[in-house]
Amino acid sequence: MHKSLLAITTFAKISIRRYFRDRVAIFFTVVFPLIFLFVFGGIFGKNSSSAFHVAVINQSSEAFAQKFDGQLKAEKIFKVDPKVTTLSSAKDKMSRSELDATIVLPPDFGSLKGKTYPSGIAQVYYDVNDEQAATTVTSILQGQFETINTELIKNPTPFKVQTQKTNIGGLSRFDYTFSGLLGFSILGLGVFGPTNYFPQMKKQGVLRRLHITPLRPWEFFTASVLSNAVIGIFSIGIMFIVAMTVFHFHMTGNILNLVVMIVLGILSIFGIGLAIGGWAKNENQAAPLANIITFPMMFLSGTFFPRFLMPEWLQHITTFLPLTPVIDGIRQVATEGKSLVEVGPQIGLIAIWTVIIYAIAFRVFRWE
C-alpha cells in the first residue's frame, strides 16, 4: 500500500510539473476556455437585451424638438445609434435587425401652431419582424408624452400605472451560461486531453516502458486522475476569477461544496478520456470515437444553451447524459447556493456513470 502511494504521488506530481512546462497544454486548458468565456460573456454578460436599439431622426428645428431629442438620447432604455441621420439608412439597418425601431420627429414637431403650447406627432418606424419591439418603443414614447402633456395642460389624472423591477437575486443569463461553460471546460480537459496524449505515449513507447515495471493500471489511473483534477481546479479557478471580476458572476454557493462538485465532475468525465485513450492503439482510433461521444454531450447537456429550451422529450433523455448532472450540479451549488444533499440526485447519477465508465476503462486498457 505504501509502495502504491509513493508511485501514485510521484507520477501525479511529475505530470503536474510537466503540464506547467507545456505551453500548448496550458493554451488548451486555460486560454481556450477563457476565449469561450469572453465570447459567451460578451453575448449574455451585459443586460443589453433590455435596451432597445433605435435611431432618432429629428427633422424639426423647434426648440422643443431639440430638447426632446436630447431627452431620448439620455434615456437608458434606448440605445440611440448616432450614425443614422436619414430614414433610408435607418430602414436599411432595421431590415438587418441592427435597429429595433426608428423615431422620426417631423419638421413641424414642437411648433406652437397658434396655441400657447407646442404640439406634434412623433412617428415610429419598424420592420415587420420587429413588431413587438416597436410596440414597446411606442408605449415608452407615449409614457413620456403623457408626462409632458400633464405639465403643459393641467388635467386631473385619476389612474396611473407604475412599474417596478423584481429580479432581486435572480439568475442573470450569464450566471446560467457560466456553469455550462465550466462543463465544456471539464469535457475538453477530461476527454480531448487523454485521447490525444495516451495514444501518443503508446506510439513513443512511454507506456511500454511502464508496462515492464510492476506499476499496476489502477495506480497509473489514480495518478492520472489526481493530476487531472489539480490541473482542472487550476484552469476552472482562473475561469471563476475572470467570471466574477469581468462578468459579475453571482457566486452564492459554498466554495467547498463547489470544489467537491467540480472534482466529482472531473473524475467521471476524465474516465471517458481514459477509457478511449487507454483502449486506442493510435490517434486514428481515438479521435473519431472521442468526437462521437463528446459532440452529443457538448450540445445536449446544457453546455452552450440551457436544456429548458429543448422539447420536453429531449430534456428527459438528456438528463441522463454523463455531463448533464455535472453541469446541473455545479450550477445549483454555485448560483442557487444548494447543499451537497440537495444535489443528491446529480451526485448519484455522477456516481453511477463513474462506476460504469471506469469499469469499461479498466477492461479495455492496454499498455501498447
Binding site: 509513493l6 512546462r21 515492464i212
Partner: protein
C-alpha cells in the same frame, strides 16, 4: 560452473498460425553476459518479450531466479530491468524526475543524481531527454532500467545507430554493470560487439537456436571444419584512424 539464473525450456509462440518461436531452450548463468544473435525476424525480440512478461507464452516454460514467469509475472518485474530499443521518455520532464518516477513504479526512492553520475550524465540532471544526443539517451535509458538494481538486465540492440565513440562508451558501461554482478542478456547485429562483450552467444534463425557457445569456441569450431578466410594482417583500419583523430572522450 556458475549457477543458472534463467532457464528457458521449449518456448513457443505463434501469430495467426505462423510459428515465430519454435521450441527455444537455453540456460543463462548468474553474472554472465549472454548474447542472442540472429537476422531480423529470427524471433529474438519475441523470445525476449515472453521472458520479460510483455507477451503471453503459448507453451514451454521460463524460470528466472526460481520464479515462474507465466505464473508470477508481477514478481518477475521486480527482478528484471529492460532497456528498450526505442528510447522514448516523456518530454518536458527532467532526467532526475524521470528516474524518480521510474523508481516510484517499483515503490522505491533513489538518489537520482548518483545514478546519473554512474552513466556520466550528472551534468545533465536538469535537462530533458529530448535535449540529449543519441549516445546520452542510450546511457540514460540504461540508468532508468537499472533504478531498482535488477538481477537480470535485458538490452535490445543497445548500440544500433550510435557512432563509434558512443558505442565504445557503451561497451565500457556494460562491463561496469557486469562487474557489479548483474546478469546481462543482450541482442545485437554487430558481431564485433558480441565478441567484445559476451561470455556466451546463442545464434537464432527461423525461430530456433541453431548454435550456443562461447565466441571463441564458435570460431574454433569453424576453423576445425577447415574454414579459411583470406587473411590479411592489417596494422590499423579506418576505424582506428577515426578514433585516433576524434578521441575517445565521453562527449559523444
Amino acid at each position: 560452473m556458475a549457477e543458472v539464473i534463467l532457464k528457458v525450456t521449449n518456448l513457443q509462440k505463434s501469430y495467426d498460425d505462423k510459428k515465430v518461436v519454435k521450441g527455444v531452450s537455453f540456460d543463462v548463468r548468474r553474472g554472465e553476459v549472454f548474447g542472442i544473435l540472429g537476422p531480423n525476424g529470427a524471433g529474438k525480440t519475441t523470445t525476449l518479450e515472453m521472458i520479460e512478461t510483455l507477451r503471453p507464452i503459448d507453451s514451454g516454460s521460463v524460470t528466472l531466479d526460481g520464479v515462474d514467469v507465466a505464473r508470477e509475472p508481477q514478481k518477475i518485474r521486480y527482478l528484471i530491468g529492460v532497456q528498450l530499443q526505442s528510447t522514448a521518455f516523456m518530454d518536458k520532464v527532467k532526467l532526475t524526475e524521470l528516474l524518480d518516477q521510474q523508481a516510484a513504479a517499483y515503490g522505491e526512492r533513489v538518489d537520482s543524481h548518483a545514478l546519473l553520475k554512474d552513466v556520466n550524465l550528472d551534468d545533465k540532471a536538469s535537462s530533458f531527454v529530448e535535449e540529449l544526443s543519441g549516445g546520452q539517451k542510450q546511457r540514460f535509458s540504461i540508468a532508468a532500467a537499472l533504478v531498482h538494481q535488477p538481477k537480470v538486465f535485458f538490452m535490445d540492440e543497445p548500440t544500433t545507430g550510435l557512432d563509434p565513440q558512443a558505442r565504445r562508451n557503451l561497451w565500457a558501461l556494460v562491463n561496469k554493470i557486469k562487474a557489479k554482478g548483474t546478469t546481462i542478456i543482450l541482442t545485437t547485429h554487430y558481431m564485433e560487439e558480441a565478441e567484445q562483450l559476451c561470455d556466451r552467444v546463442a545464434i537464432m534463425d527461423k525461430g530456433q537456436i541453431i548454435k550456443l557457445n562461447t565466441p571463441k569456441n564458435l570460431v574454433d569450431e569453424l576453423l576445425e571444419k577447415g574454414f579459411k578466410k583470406e587473411r590479411r594482417v592489417e596494422q590499423a583500419n579506418l576505424e582506428d584512424v577515426f578514433m585516433d583523430l576524434t578521441g575517445k572522450g565521453l562527449h559523444a
